[in-house]
């Protein structure tokens, strides 16, 4: 035992050491990570975010530099805080708070103390940087909006939150992500792909060189620039006309589905959501629950479509063969559609309206009867209604259109199941749902759906999915936005289009006539209600107008919706007409009309429900 004690001990220790090595090096993986955290610094390199252009190549969104002041707490030596605060213009309390926060976060890792200082402050600070040991400046790229309109389309970028990080591994805290609009829809194209640089650190957290000869580095992938279908001039002009009015305008190029303008008012200057005041400004916008500036009325607002919907009913009836262009209905300032139920109309007593007249006089009686025939064509109203529903759906109603912005509403086109639920099976017939004939009742559409079916009419039976993307970095896009045919035979369109032309020539929208351009349109007036203290109260009607022009070679289809604008010809038609003139002619001759529209202010209408006083509508 005496002879072998040391040898045995040596063997035991040898085995223990090898077991320990096995445990440390092979069985436990945590040391590898600890070592990496210790010694390797991974720095992300971001490509500059892509620019956004309009259809004519006008730059809409670029980038600007901003500078964050960073510190590494353990390197900071006492400094003149007051001088520093005056230099970068922040209260001393904020500075001290931020320094504390940084220290609490980590003594060795950099934290932001002052974020997004201006170029001017940066220049001043740089001369004095030597005074502030442990401070350094990190350049950051912010969005720079070249325009003060189109915020609802462009969207904005902001820092990722925990949810984003959970959803997509790509993002890390502090990085930016497109939050709304184009910035969100084309986030991947606009952001590019960040790269990675690995640096070797020493134990003082100092960088001592590149890691493994850069073999692990990943180069950032260049971000792509995006060209939109948007016509910036038209968009700006639309927002100008819409000031002090709430509503939306959607303009589409029928031959391609390209969206030329998408206006929602009230809106805001996109530059508000950039930089240091972003959070404050956003809160203000989000808290405005009356005007709802963040609510895109062009895409999200559901309104009853009103009379423009009659054109669709006419097309359905023609396709179903329940009327011909010659079919006439008699109108006596309205008609009884059921016993004791009278529907009023503007037509004079004893009018005999055929389809053409029915459209340009917007005859309720004509369309109520037409609708009745559609529903009653089959043995049961269920079948008739569902047939009608199918036709309307082929115009993109009652469902998402599939455009390239992430917000929207489906709208609503009722079917038999819907009424069965309300009235029980067999408990309803054409007369019960007659309001649908004139675009009231249960039908709901968004302005972009109005514009889209107008484009489909202009195209005589088909439309292209509306969209904003024209090209990415000069490459044209794959045909993601396809042609869709409606279920209506093209031959039925001419008479309806003729009717719409007459609406402008001698009907309800004569104000929309433009010299040298054949405009086709249809006005609308939609009743609407709100609840005031729980009481259903009617408000001033919405003013609606859909149009396209020129008649035989449509360049633009447009829908204008003015909340509580009374009747279609009052606001919506003139504004649509000016938009068409601006787009096609490039200039406005009727400056009197332009002035009247731009100066028009119907804010008083919007205040009525909140005034607490009794008020009159439609005045």
């Amino acid at each position: 035992m005496r002879k072998s004690l040391l040898a045995v001990l040596t063997l035991i220790i040898g085995v223990v050491f090898i077991a320990r090595l096995l445990q440390l090096q092979v069985l436990s993986t945590s040391y590898q990570k600890l070592s990496d955290n210790n010694a390797i610094l991974a720095i992300s390199e971001y490509p500059e975010r892509g620019f956004i252009y309009d259809r004519n190549g006008k730059l809409l969104v670029a980038n600007q530099a901003a500078y964050d002041i960073m510190i590494i707490p353990e390197n900071v030596i006492p400094f003149d805080t007051l001088a520093f605060c005056t230099l970068v213009n922040i209260p001393k309390k904020t500075l001290i708070n931020n320094l504390k926060k940084a220290r609490r976060f980590s003594k060795r890792l950099p934290s932001v103390v002052v974020n997004q200082i201006s170029k001017e402050t940066y220049a001043r600070l740089q001369e004095q940087m030597w005074k502030y040991e442990g401070f350094f400046i990190q350049k950051k790229s912010l969005r720079d909006y070249q325009i003060n309109f189109g915020a609802n389309i462009l969207g904005y970028v902001s820092e990722v939150n925990d949810n984003d990080i959970k959803k997509e591994e790509y993002y890390q805290p502090g990085e930016l992500i497109g939050r709304q609009g184009i910035e969100k829809s084309y986030e991947k194209e606009l952001r590019g792909e960040k790269g990675k640089r690995f640096l070797q650190k020493d134990r003082f957290n100092r960088i001592i060189g590149v890691y493994k000869n850069k073999s692990f580095d990943i180069d950032p992938k260049v971000a792509k620039d995006i060209q939109l279908t948007l016509d910036a001039t038209l968009q700006e002009y639309g927002e100008f006309l819409m000031q002090n009015k709430r509503g939306g305008i959607v303009a589409i190029e029928p031959s391609s589905g390209e969206i030329l303008a998408l206006i929602s008012t009230p809106s805001y200057n996109p530059n508000l959501l950039v930089g240091r005041d972003r959070t404050n400004n956003y809160r203000k916008l989000a808290q405005d629950t009356l005007a709802k500036p963040l609510f895109d009325r062009g895409l999200q607002a559901l309104y009853p479509p009103g009379s423009p919907f009659k054109t669709l009913n006419a097309l359905v009836a023609l396709q179903e063969g329940v009327i011909t262009p010659e079919t006439k209905f008699k109108c006596n300032e309205g008609h009884y559609y059921a016993r004791g139920a009278f529907m009023k109309c503007h037509c004079r007593k004893g009018s005999q309206n055929n389809l053409l007249k029915g459209i340009y006089n917007s005859c309720n009686t004509f369309f109520a009867n037409t609708y009745k025939r559609i529903i009653e064509k089959h043995e049961t109203p269920e079948k008739g209604l569902n047939q009608w529903n199918e036709h309307l759906k082929s115009f993109g109603l009652g469902n998402y259109l599939g455009y390239d912005l992430s917000i929207g509403k489906k709208g609503f086109i009722p079917n038999a199941a819907y009424y069965d639920q309300w009235y029980s099976k067999g408990g309803w017939k054409a007369a019960t749902i007659i309001s649908n004939a004139i675009g009231q009742g249960e039908v709901l559409t968004t302005p972009i759906q109005l514009a889209n079916f107008t484009a489909a009419i202009a195209n005589r039976g088909h439309y292209y999915t509306p969209h904003f993307l024209r090209s990415v970095s000069g490459d044209s896009i794959p045909r993601k936005f396809v042609r869709k045919n409606t279920s209506i035979d093209p031959k039925h369109f001419e008479v309806v289009i003729d009717g719409m032309h007459k609406v402008v020539e001698k009907g309800t929208a004569r104000v929309a006539r433009i010299k040298g351009i054949e405009v086709c349109g249809k006005t609308g007036t939609a009743e609407n209600f709100t609840k005031i203290n729980g009481v259903r109260t009617q408000l001033t009607d919405h003013s609606i107008f859909v149009a396209f022009a020129p008649k035989d070679d449509p360049k633009i289809a447009i829908a204008v919706f003015i909340e509580n604008g009374y009747w279609g010809g009052r606001w919506a038609a003139p504004i649509a007409s000016l938009m068409i003139e601006k787009y096609i002619n490039g200039e406005i001759i009727r400056s009197w009309l332009e002035k009247r529209m731009a100066d028009g202010n119907i804010s008083s209408e919007y205040e009525k429900p909140y005034s607490g006083k009794p008020f009159k509508i439609n005045e």
Partner: protein
Amino acid sequence: MNKSFYRLDWIIIALYIALVGYGLINIYSTNYNENSSLFNFGIPVGKQFLFFIVSILVAVIILITKAKVFERFASIFYLISILSLIGLFIFGKKISGATSWYAFGGVGLQPSEFVKVTTALAVSKILSEIQFNLKKIKSLFQIGFVIVLPMILIILQPDPGTALVFVGFFFVLFREGLNVIFLLTIIGLIFFFILALIAPIPFIITSIITLLISMYFFSKKLNKKTSLLPYLLVIFLSCGYVSSVDYIFNTVFEQRHRDRINIILGKELDTQGIGYNINQSKIAIGSGGWDGKGFLQGTQTKGDFVPQQHTDYIFSTIGEEWGFYGSSIVVVAFCFLIIRILYKTENLKNKFARTYGHSLAAILFLHFFINIGMSLGLVPTIGIPLPFISYGGSSLLAFSCLLFIFLNLDANRLNE
């Protein structure tokens, strides 16, 4: 030389060269920069290489020296080395808090490293004297004095780590017949010391009493004559010792020693202050994986995270850059070396040579155990080098002397 030259243990020599070479590679990596070269004598790897060449020359001189010389002049070597330790207090140079060095121009020499050699010679000489008997109190005092004197002088520098290595001579004494009571006492002292630090003292005392009393009754059944007295004595002494551990720990030890022990016992978690070295060393080794990050590729090593990495913590470089394979081969190599020396030693008839061989093995074992154990976080931080591998001229030279004297003795085993 002649015949004995052929009896040299070339396996040990090959192992020696391999270990020093491996050390050079890792020292090169630890302090790597663009000027690194074996022949740049201004940097650690160059200096180490220089000392390696010197060591080889000295080794050759040792090998051609007659084996008898070491035995005959052992006392003189010992005296000279003790004087050199005393001389440190007058001429020594203070480096990082300890006066352990003589500075000759740019070269520092650390006498405490060489005292290991001379003490080994002196101990062997005394033990091999005919009238020496470990059962005699006088002999015990004589040998104890020879071992403890350099320890005290080294502790005074202060360099307690190096002094601790002399505890290794205990194995030699035990091999040569020291009463087993000493072994049990030492094991008991260490065991109870650790136990007293991690477990509540009343609990330990109760356990000791219960255990020993039941042992007494058990042996009484086997042998009626068993006396109670030794059991009572052991109970009394061990309980007294356990109760005083706290006192010893808190008053005799310094705070840094307490911290080092507490960290190993897991009673303190500290990765920034005193525990930094151990933690970083563990990270470096742990991040090596099976086959390591590769030569010059260790991120921990490059980032200089482990302090004293080319000296006491050289094993962490090996662990990081050469992985499990590269570091376990070092463990295996040391075990093999120590056991081979012990094996050869047992075959020696000459008592001087045998005792010397045992001293060599014991010293190597202590260095191996403490140094690698410390790098692996198993042993409290005690700053002593890993033989042949760690950077340090004196250490390399002294270990070379230690080893080649043994090789000489071994090669001349038949020339009695």
